[in-house]
Amino acid sequence: MSSLPRREASPAVDPISELSFDALSREAHALRDRLNRFRLALGRHFVGKQDLVDLMTVAAVAQEPLLLVGPPGTAKSDLVLKFRDALRIPNEDYFEYLLTRFTEPSEVLGPIDINLLRQGRYIRREGGKLPTARLVFLDEVFKASSAILNALLTVINERKFYQDGAPQPVRLKVLFAATNELPEHAELGALKDRFCLKAACRPVQDRYFLELLDSGLDSQTHREMNQKPWAEGHASLDDVLKTHRYLTLMMGKRETGPDGRELRDRDLFFRDELLREFRRVVQTLTREDGVFISDRKLVKLYRLLRTRAWIFHGGAVERQDLQLLSYLGESREEIDLLEEKVPRLLGLT
């Protein structure tokens, strides 16, 4: 079999993937502190967006794609850009693109290598494009052509893309996407379902008029002075990835209880009462509001809940962590409904 060309600037083996649970455990407390400082500090640079910053942090650590839904001018892109700056992610690890129906796959996945094409090889030059980035932001994601959408499905699902018919892993860890509206076409349903979390990005001028003006002017000034005060260095992308590995290892662990019974993660970190509450909310949303929650999504939700619980209070899942279920809406109407209904079900209003 002919070998694929080597990646431009092919990365060495990721050292984080080699870290042991014990090593990470020793660092866990510091990691958590840094991530909390990071999300709180970043939230101060926005008006009324702390919830979204928190959600982005949780999604990044859990490595689950997050979709921001909202009209233009509601800081969707700004959130991602400042998130990236705050984590000090270098250019080679970051890729962003505004997709339109005319966007070519080569603009996202890299152009075809003409020299290799002459030799009959269909290879993309992926440098600086999505396959080599670790944080990716796709604006207007549902406007992309079907060729790009299909490639994205594979990238999100399997973390790989095809070079000359052969699968090749991508470095993608964190994917944020934005859209003005949620499509209802069936053909886009598959991609939509890949985004377990969908959060509405709303205008805040009604509640925070003056604060918005002040913050907006500050932001404009910083941009023109080429300053990035939000890049405070509280945490790095490595911290995010280490936390992810730590939590993954932790959730896979089995311990033996005092009665000799094998204890799983949920026995230790998800009280029965809250598990039942989790199930009740899911059942209610499914039956009363017709919200579709696939089996795959349910498992992802568990991981997300655990991630949030660990970041926010370092221990077992608590009732307020279940607020994450507010972000399960599949349409704009569902998003609005769940953001209001889930806290009410949980008695957190």
């Binding site: 039942r276 009740r280 039956r287």
Partner: protein, 1090 residues
């Protein structure tokens, strides 16, 4: 006490339900033990009789003497049967009884339900007899599902019970379970029996129940404060102010106050004639310093840039007859109706706001009739010498007329003219005045002369004295009353009662100077009369028409006679034939030739009366009469022309009182289309493009309803939004523009597009044609007649879907060749061994083409084609029979229509409810055809035959609506209403895909249009509520969102049909009227040509 051993629970259930265990034993307590094998050892406390024991043993029940010490007690035997699990798909809507593990858990439970919106809760607190424990029951109606999930999980020991039998509240089974004998259980009075999913049955006292609110103290964060109402300090006075707008609108009205005459002279010297033709002017103010108001006609062209030094104004978008300075804005914005009441209280006036500084303004206005075409006052001459220059200078001198100004309102100085006189007449009269008096006249003199002319017009030889204003008012009132009683009259169209009304209306119209309407009334009265009555009516008609008309010789010498002239001659001809001693107005051949050139100006009745009279005067001219008959039937192909053949009061619709309501609703709906935020597909066309087409659609509708200014304004704004150089936008904007113009002209909706625009269709390439055809298919206002199938046409690349023969046929102009071709095709279509699909294709095409032939040639062919329908599928037969019936009606052949209606009835009876033919208006078309030939009974029978569809459960809604439309058409609205309701329900539930819903919307709107206005208008408004969810992803989105335009089209068409006499009564009246015309023509043709 013996113990019974039941081998299984099923055996026990059988013993209990079959009565083997007596009911009194079943009701008494027992003890039982369940073995691992499932056997039940039951020790009853009430002894069983020997007979009962024998019966049980025959069932296989064992009897043991010893009782097991480990047996558990039960309240009754039914408790021995365990409840069965059932799924819980949704929260029960009725009462649910919650039993918390302890009374302490009651409060959190009630609080949770309150939080989730359930406040219909009752609580029953009870203590044990020993006083050592307390229990609590909570009964809630329609509790939230979330709380039920807790009970299903037994979270905290909570259990929920639902009534074992709906409506009965004494036996409760745990949620998610059922008990086989629950219906037979009856606890003691005042006691509740609770059957848990597992464990022992429980009883509880049934009350006392206390409403939760009686146990709840709700505290307000602050004590309430009582406010006392005070009288309003007085009305607020808000001055309206003119402020400067952000953008400048193009001017279309100019008020020239300084040096006005010189400015206009200068203008007409330099302005191209085409632009000059767009301008109208009015003069006001003192004669020595007149003010001239110039106004551009509303139209698709932008108003010209005039560069005048007067004040320039632009119309307010929502009020076309109110003009503001071009950069002006009214502050604060007020509603249109308020603005109209304040600034344009009178109709038919033009008002502009003259700024007086610091935001103040003065409203100045002139009557609409004060404006005259500017180009009519200008003569262009060749400047060949000084002598020629004199008339040119005089030509642009204005004959300014007397004026009055009062309190800022300018009085028109226009000559008093009867409102019915059209602009052309006005122009010609001024021209003649100028020719007669070449010297420039002083304004006062001109005014005097005009007054003199007005009186002169009526005096010589006039049968009726000129009316004073008071009499005019009385005549108008009487006419309005008569028109109203005519519409309300429940009598056939040819009844003597109606004839009397026609005569009186003719007289009154004549007195009011409405000569055209008077003529239409006279001919209607004359049409159905005979003998002396006809003679008298013909004389009176001719007298009325020839008042002030020139002599016949002078008429015949005119190259361009007016419509009144032609009608005067027609009436003279009728009088010559019908009245005793009537004289021929001239030599017959000259009269025939003259009429050949000018009879297009006549309505169908006048034309036929004139031609039939000529036939008699010539001593018989069957050929001429047959030709006239053919021409008339061709004119009637689309029915009576509202503009040409129908008096104005019938054109306006059923009841003129509904016109403002219709217009207002349509405008509100247009506003809804402009402002509604829709959920749009990701590839939907830019809203500005779609909106432009929606505006065109509304412009067509408003034009049909007579709102000319608004229609023009909408069409102009739509046109400006589209790039006319792009082929698709270009064609469609021209086509819609033509439709608006046709509607404004009062032409029938089915009038074909002008040939130059229709020819553009063939110039489009296949894909462009496809997109255009999709819109034509979806917009009945754009394409009212042709049945299109763009997808098939695109797939085949065909010019005509019915086949190339028919496309070729369209190109043939010679009627003889057309007839020969059609006959050849008929022979092919009726050949015995032709395959059914090919026969269907040919028959469909030929039925479409037959109207092009004269009846004498078409009718035999129609008979042959109808004969060849046998053997085709029922649905195809139904459609083709409907077409044939319309044709028979078109040719006025009641005999054939009766036979076809009989066949159609049979075919429709066998047509399955799901056939698409029902939804395609087959029934409506057939009913209209039958009524056109006066076959009301057959129409009723056809509706009765199809009414059975409504009773069939699986009849699709479009089919039901087809029948409902027929019912509404026959005035049986009550029977149609349930169908309308069903259709609305289906649309509200958003059943089916969007194209189906839009098709249903169109069917419903079409059916509603036949209902009374009070049903139709709210229904149409309700239909428009679907708008927020209408979008599509068709490839037509490159130019427009088809579904939105289609919805607009369906709604607007519904309004148009309601408004333009397509409503219940007027439509029926027009059909009957057309029948009368056809009946006489056919009768006389037969008499005179055979």
């Amino acid at each position: 006490m013996s113990t019974l051993v039941f081998p299984s629970e099923e055996a026990l259930q059988l013993a209990l339900t079959s009565g083997l265990v007596p009911s009194e034993v079943q009701a008494s307590p027992a003890r039982y033990r369940r073995t691992a094998e499932g056997a039940l050892h039951v020790t009853p406390e009430s002894p069983l009789t020997k007979a009962a024991l024998k019966g049980l043993t025959s069932l296989g029940v064992g009897v043991e003497d010893a009782e097991s010490g480990r047996a558990a007690p039960v309240l009754c035997w039914a408790e021995l049967l365990r409840p069965r699990r059932i799924p819980v798909d949704a929260a029960p809507g009725g009462p649910v009884l919650f039993v918390p593990a302890s009374a302490n858990a009651l409060l959190p439970l009630a609080g949770e339900m309150l939080r989730l919106g359930c406040d219909r809760q009752e609580v029953c607190l009870a203590g044990s007899a020993r006083g050592d424990s307390r229990r609590a029951l909570l009964r809630a109606v329609a509790p939230p599902y979330f709380t039920l999930t807790g009970a299903l999980d037994h979270t905290g020991g909570l259990r929920a019970f639902v009534p074992a039998v709906p409506g009965q509240h004494s036996v409760w089974v745990e949620l998610g379970h059922s008990h086989p004998l629950a219906r037979t259980l009856q606890p003691a009075k005042g006691t509740l029996l609770l059957i848990p999913g597992d464990g022992r049955w429980q009883t509880a006292p049934d009350g006392p129940w206390t409403d939760l609110y009686q146990l709840t103290d709700l505290r307000l964060p602050e004590p309430a404060e009582e406010w006392k109402a005070e009288a309003a300090p007085g009305r607020l006075s808000v001055p309206l102010r003119l402020t400067r707008a952000a953008r400048t609108e193009p001017a279309s009205l100019w008020v020239l106050r300084d040096n006005a005459r010189a400015q206009v002279e200068s203008l007409v010297h330099t302005l191209p004639e085409a632009l000059l033709a767009q301008l109208r002017f009015a003069v006001a103010g003192p004669p020595d310093a007149p003010c001239i108001v110039l106004r551009a006609r509303a139209g698709r062209e932008r108003p010209p840039e005039l560069g005048l030094s007067g004040m320039a104004y632009a119309p307010l978008p929502q009020l076309a007859d109110l003009y503001l300075p071009c950069d002006g804005l009214l502050e604060p914005p007020v509603r249109r109706d308020r603005l109209r009441a304040l600034l344009t209280p009178e109709r038919d006036t033009v008002t502009w706001l003259h700024p007086t500084g610091n935001g103040a303004f003065r409203a100045e206005r002139l009557p609409e009739s004060a404006f005259h075409p500017l180009d009519a006052w200008v003569d262009y001459v060749v400047d060949t010498g000084t002598a020629a220059l004199v008339p040119w200078v005089r030509g642009v001198t204005f004959d300014f007329e007397a004026f009055e100004a009062a309190a800022g309102e300018w009085q028109s100085s226009a000559p008093e003219k009867a409102e019915e006189e059209d602009e052309k007449d006005a122009r010609s009269s001024r021209r003649s005045r100028r020719v007669a008096a070449p010297q420039p006249a002083e304004p006062a003199e001109a005014a005097t002369r005009n007054v003199r002319r007005a009186t002169e017009a009526a005096t010589p030889g006039a049968r009726l004295a000129p009316l004073t204003p008071a009499q005019l008012g009385a005549a108008e009132q009487e006419l309005a009353k008569l028109e109203k009683s005519f519409l309300a009259l429940d009598a056939p169209a040819d009844s003597a009662e109606r004839r009397r009304l026609w005569v009186r209306m003719a007289e009154l119209n004549g007195q009011l100077g409405r000569r055209r309407d008077a003529g239409l009334c006279w001919t209607r009265a004359l049409w159905e009369s005979a003998g002396p009555e006809a003679a008298e009516l013909a004389s009176r008609w001719a007298e009325a028409e020839t008042v002030g008309a020139p002599s016949t010789a002078e008429l015949l010498s005119r190259a361009t006679p007016s419509d009144d002239d032609v009608r005067a001659l027609a009436s003279s001809l009728a009088r010559a034939v019908l009245a005793p001693g009537g004289q021929t107005p001239g030599d017959v051949p000259s009269l025939q030739r003259w009429l050949d050139r000018h009879d297009a100006a006549l309505d169908v009745r006048s034309l036929w009366l004139a031609r039939a009279s000529l036939d008699r005067l010539a001593g018989g001219d069957p050929l001429g009469l047959a030709r006239a008959g053919d021409r008339l039937l061709e004119m009637l192909q689309r029915g009576l022309s509202l503009a040409r053949d129908v008096p104005r009061f019938l054109r306006a619709g059923t009841d003129a009182t509904h016109a403002p309501r219709l217009g207002a609703q349509l405008e509100a709906m247009q506003e809804r289309f402009e402002r509604t935020t829709r959920r749009r597909s990701s590839i939907e066309a830019p809203p500005v493009l779609t909106q432009a087409y929606v505006r065109f659609v509304f412009a067509c509708g408003l034009a049909r309803l007579g709102q000319a200014d608004r229609a023009r304004a909408l069409a102009v704004s739509a046109m400006e939004a589209l790039d006319a150089t792009e082929p698709i936008h270009g064609f469609l904007s021209r086509a819609y523009g033509a439709r608006v113009a046709q509607a404004l002209e009062g032409q029938a909706p089915e009038t074909p597009l002008p040939p130059d625009i229709a020819a553009e269709l063939n110039a489009l390439n296949t894909f462009q044609r496809y997109k255009v055809d999709r819109l034509r298919q979806s917009s009945a206002l754009l394409e009212p007649s042709e049945r299109l199938d763009p997808a098939r046409a695109f797939g085949r690349g065909a010019r005509d879907l019915r086949g190339e023969e028919f496309a070729a046929l369209r190109d043939i102009r010679d009627p003889g060749k057309v007839a020969a071709e059609v006959e050849a095709l008929t022979s092919r279509a009726t050949a015995p061994k032709l395959a059914a699909p090919e026969r269907q294709r040919l028959l469909g095409g030929l039925l479409d083409t037959l109207p092009r032939l004269p009846p004498a040639r078409a009718l035999p062919l129609l008979d042959r084609l109808v004969g060849a329908l046998e053997g085709l599928p029922g649905e195809v037969q139904g459609q083709l029979l409907g077409d044939a019936l319309s044709l028979a009606a078109l040719f006025g052949r009641a005999d054939r229509a009766t036979a076809l209606a009989g066949r159609l009835r049979k075919v429709l009876a066998g047509l399955p409810p799901e056939s698409p033919a029902w939804g395609q208006g087959l029934l409506g078309v057939s009913l209209r055809g039958l009524r056109r030939v006066g076959l009301s009974r057959e129409a009723r029978e056809l509706v009765d035959a199809t009414q059975g569809l409504l009773a069939k459960p699986k009849t699709p809604l479009p089919a039901q609506l087809g029948v409902a439309a027929g019912l509404a058409m026959l005035g049986r609205t009550e029977e149609a209403l349930p169908v309308f309701d069903r259709a609305f329900d289906s649309l509200s539930a958003a059943k089916g895909a969007l194209p189906e819903r839009l098709a249903l919307t169109r069917s419903l709107a079409g059916a509603l249009a036949h209902a009374p206005v009070d049903v139709a208008l709210p229904g149409l408004a309700r239909l428009s509520e679907q708008l927020p969810n209408v979008t599509d992803s068709y490839n037509t989105n490159s130019h427009f969102c088809l579904s939105v335009v289609e919805l607009a089209d369906a709604l607007v068409l519904g309004h148009v049909e309601v408004g333009q006499g397509s409503g219940e009564r007027a439509r029926s009246w027009l059909d009957e009227d057309e029948f009368l015309v056809r009946r006489r023509i056919h009768r006389e043709l037969e008499e005179r040509t055979t």
